[in-house]
Amino acid sequence: MNPSEARAILEALIFAAVEPLPVEKAARILGLDEATVRRLAEQIKADCQAPDRGLTLEEVAGGLQLVTKPQYAPYLAQLGRADRPTALTPAALETLAIIAYRQPVSKAEIEEIRGVRVEGVLHNLEERGFIVEVGRKDAPGRPILYGTTELFLKAFGLRSLADLPPLEEEEFRLVEPQS
């Protein structure tokens, strides 16, 4: 298998997998090491930058995935696909943010932060597959601990939890009066 063929096969694999394709899996199938696969992926991505290409390659949830370029979304919306877009209420988004950044976290902790009951929101997020029970807290009542799922990473286009946007510690700046 020459490098150009390897690239072609990698493209085909990523396309056929639909879901993000883990680099190690691609490496196993191609019989190459992961660094080589990553390099090939970079080349595919670079090719996609041509103005006549409508797709691009991204790393999401620890895998490689072909997606359309964001600027063409208005045209794609006319396809009328029922699965999109993912929408969340502000309350759901707030709850999800607390879980994403603090996991594992219990319902009581989320309620303490948000000041409201979150039973319904949690249920909804769980139904949609963005969060799961990841264990039990070693505390009275053994409350359920929640964490985010791989689907969460996919839906938000994140490579991994380490890829979550950093939170600025703005508290200290607030000591100065704002104008």
Binding site: F15, A16, A17, V18, E19, T56, E58, Q65, L66, V67, T68, K69, P70, Q71, A73, L76, R81, D83, R84, P85, T86, L88, P90, A91, L93, E94, L96, A97, I98, A100, Y101, E112, I113, R114, G115, V116, R117, A155, F156, G157, L158, L164, P165, L167, E168, E169, E170, E171, L174, V175, E176, P177, Q178, S179
Partner: protein, 259 residues
Amino acid sequence: MGYVVQLEVFTGPMDLLLHLVQKEQVSIYDIPIARITEEYLRYLETLHELDLDVISDFLVIAATLIQIKASLLVPQPPETGSAAPAAEEEGPDLRAQLVQRLLVYKKYRQAAEKLRTCLEARNARYTRWPGHRQLPPAPGEREEALPELPVDVWGLRDLVRQLLAQSQKPEPVHAVAPEKTSLRRRIREVLRSLKAKRELLFSELLPHPGPPRLEIVITFLAVLELLRAGLVAAYQATPLAQLRLAYLPRTAAKRGSGS
């Protein structure tokens, strides 16, 4: 004030509080408690009119605000001499706790904003239709690809029978615990009756003569919460007389009778 809060905008009491503080353009450390409390309660008042369901969550924070405000009004005890009563120490402490909570909340609100940005960016990218994930089997590999199964179809049948039998066992009878939800529900009910009648006796809040003790306790707790929030006032002619309750529309900022 000439400004109207839009009701649906807030995801909860912390969100509202943060909004009010930010509108004042002051540091979270410097919350003008009196003004914020007033505005907060005014908002709460509009909530009563609209949706009794969400009020109980907002009441808890209202009670805290009022408590801080009240304790700040109490002159600081002189340093010397008698041990300072705990109640007066509570104020600054509660305030520090509230500031801390607001800071934490603010951090996650920002996190939510960032997640929204991620979501929007991702929503602008289309993946292939998920239903396309049908991989062609390699020639002659169809059979081999079948997974190993720990049971056959009869085993599967037995499993279902067993499970269905277990799930049809009668539920053990549990004692009903005084849950938070029933307290919240009762708070709403009490408020509703008070708003309708303006004034009534505590006993009138109880469903019927000789109500279960639990009912009395929950109703009393509900009244206490409302007293704390300054939404009702309570009177007693003599120490053992019936508790008379009055609805305090909008005057919540004045602290009703606590004792």
